[in-house]
């Protein structure tokens, strides 16, 4: 599924963005050997500070498996600046209805080969469908995308061949980089969907995504036995009570009881128990 994160909702998805920046570090700093700035295991450049839009592919577990970044060509973007070598010093295209896409990447470690839902091929196609549809709904007609020759071949193989290129292919790190043109027509989108067998809405909306991440967090926090020791009867009792709590006042009553009996637990157990209600609060 595809999640769009931009300047309006990025404060809600900082963990997702961190995952994405780490993926970018592995792909562009590692595999492709581009001269990118990596700090703290994350690849972040100045264009990430300009409120770009990120189209992010997530697997069913909510992990980032693919991502791409979009910027308007009317303002600062990579081809007008750092990728000017590709354009041989020529002025970049500037259009209200053209976006630039950069940092297209897919997690080849987490994903498998083949064409099933957890494959590199499917994730790549889903990300392409997501970015083309997002652009199209914004009234965008064309995308200029900076990619490496491998991605260019992937596009061609996936029913999504660029209709043309701008400038020339230039060496960059271990590979090369080039700028390709893609139209955001229904035909192109239908072609990729057909190739990968993608049906229906690929997007997950903000609220659903938040729910999913909340549930994921709850699953890693609960229950009160992070050290994998068997739960004591008292701990079990609280977890059950919290499950059974239907109203906010019932929930509060359980919290109060945990507080009252806190000398029965180690500090770790208490923290975990208090964390458990928070994790379950979402369901309650």
């Amino acid at each position: 599924m595809i999640l769009v994160v931009d300047g309006l909702n990025r404060h809600l998805f900082s963990d997702v963005l961190d995952d994405m920046f780490q993926l970018r570090a592995r792909v562009f700093g590692g595999r492709l050997g581009w001269d990118v700035n990596i700090e703290d295991g994350k690849e972040i450049d100045e264009f990430d500070h300009l409120d770009p839009a990120y189209v992010i592919g997530l697997d069913d577990g909510g992990n980032v498996v693919a991502a791409v970044r979009a910027l308007q060509t009317t303002g600062p973007h990579m081809l007008s600046d750092v990728f000017s070598a590709i354009l041989c010093g020529e002025a970049p295209l500037r259009s209200a209805t053209m976006w630039e896409s950069t940092r297209f990447c897919v997690d080849t470690q987490r994903l498998s080969r083949g064409k099933d839902k957890n494959s590199v091929s499917y994730a790549t196609c889903e990300l392409m469908v997501g970015s083309l549809e997002y652009a199209r709904s914004a009234g965008i007609q064309d995308i200029i995308t900076v990619i490496d020759p491998v991605m260019d071949r992937v596009l061609k193989r996936s029913n999504c061949a660029p209709y043309d290129y701008v400038g020339k292919t230039v060496p960059m790190g271990k590979v090369a980089a080039l700028a390709a043109l893609l139209d955001c027509t229904e035909e192109r989108i239908a072609g990729v969907r057909e190739f990968a067998g993608i049906e229906g809405d690929v997007f997950i909306d903000e609220d659903k995504a938040l729910e999913m991440f909340e549930a994921k967090k709850a699953a890693t926090l609960s229950p009160a036995n992070r050290d994998h020791k068997p739960l004591t009867d008292l701990e079990k009792y609280f977890v059950e009570q919290m499950h059974a709590a239907k109203t906010e006042s019932e929930r509060q009553a359980v919290l109060d009881l945990i507080e009252t009996l806190s000398e029965k637990f180690t500090p770790e157990q208490k923290t975990a128990l208090l964390g458990t209600p928070r994790a379950f609060a979402h369901e309650a």
Partner: protein, 233 residues
């Protein structure tokens, strides 16, 4: 009325208001508004089709300081449907008042980012059913994107400091294609002559037009000749 074009309007202060009125007429909107910020000149521009009463109230109450259609929309690269903002406290504050002045809370804001940190916001509103609105937006959004950049570039270059900065730089491909257009060749012909796809010709022409702040190719050709970028055909 064929196209909504600022350069066809008389050079008066009211021409932006007139432009916005034409946008409303052509695209079936109740109201349209443009706000532009130019850090290079340190200026802020505003043009609206709203009533004078609402304009006065908006300023008196300082609503421009909290209006999320201005402050939030500029952080998006895509047009922002106001339904994305409606849960915010500030949105409710602004549009509770707006309602009393007959202004609907159904609208869209198109953010434009210019090359020098300048930002433009073209908004349009309409009172109608949700379905009707979605359909309307879907059919006019590409045009509105172009018009947002059109009015923004016009407003920015109306200031001398930006006019100097906004000097159009065409790539040699764009110049070449404009030169063939000046010679009377169709897009199809140009594609054949240069052995490039029709879509490539289109995309370069569109870019050249926008850099020259023109909405049509003949206008772009005229301006390119005027500033000596190409030769008369």
């Amino acid at each position: 009325m064929e196209i909504v074009d600022l350069s066809t309007l008389p050079q008066k202060d009211t021409r932006y208001d007139e432009f916005l009125k034409q946008v409303c007429e052509k695209y079936e909107m109740d109201h349209a508004a443009y706000a532009g910020m130019n850090p290079a000149a340190g200026s802020i521009h505003g043009h609206v089709t709203y009533s004078d009463e609402w304009k006065a109230h908006y300023q008196e109450q300082g609503l421009h300081l909290i209006d999320p259609t201005l402050h939030m929309s500029q952080r998006s690269i895509a047009p922002v449907d106001w339904s994305r903002l409606e849960r915010g406290k500030d949105f409710q504050r602004v549009f509770r008042d707006a309602h009393d002045f007959g202004i609907p809370d159904q609208g869209i804001t198109i953010p434009v980012r210019g090359p020098y940190g300048d930002i433009g916001l073209l908004s349009a509103t309409r009172e109608c059913s949700r379905e009707e609105w979605k359909k309307l937006v879907g059919s006019v959004i590409t045009d509105l994107q172009s018009l947002a950049v059109h009015i923004h570039d016009h407003v920015m270059t109306s200031e001398s400091i930006s006019r100097m900065l906004y000097h159009p730089t065409l790539s040699s491909r764009e110049q070449e294609i404009l030169q063939w257009a000046a010679a009377g060749k169709s897009q199809q012909d140009i594609g054949d002559i240069l052995s490039i796809s029709h879509r490539t010709v289109e995309v370069h022409l569109r870019s050249a037009r926008e850099k020259l702040n023109a909405l049509t190719t003949p206008q772009a050709v005229g301006r390119a000749i005027g500033i000596g970028l190409i030769y008369p055909g």
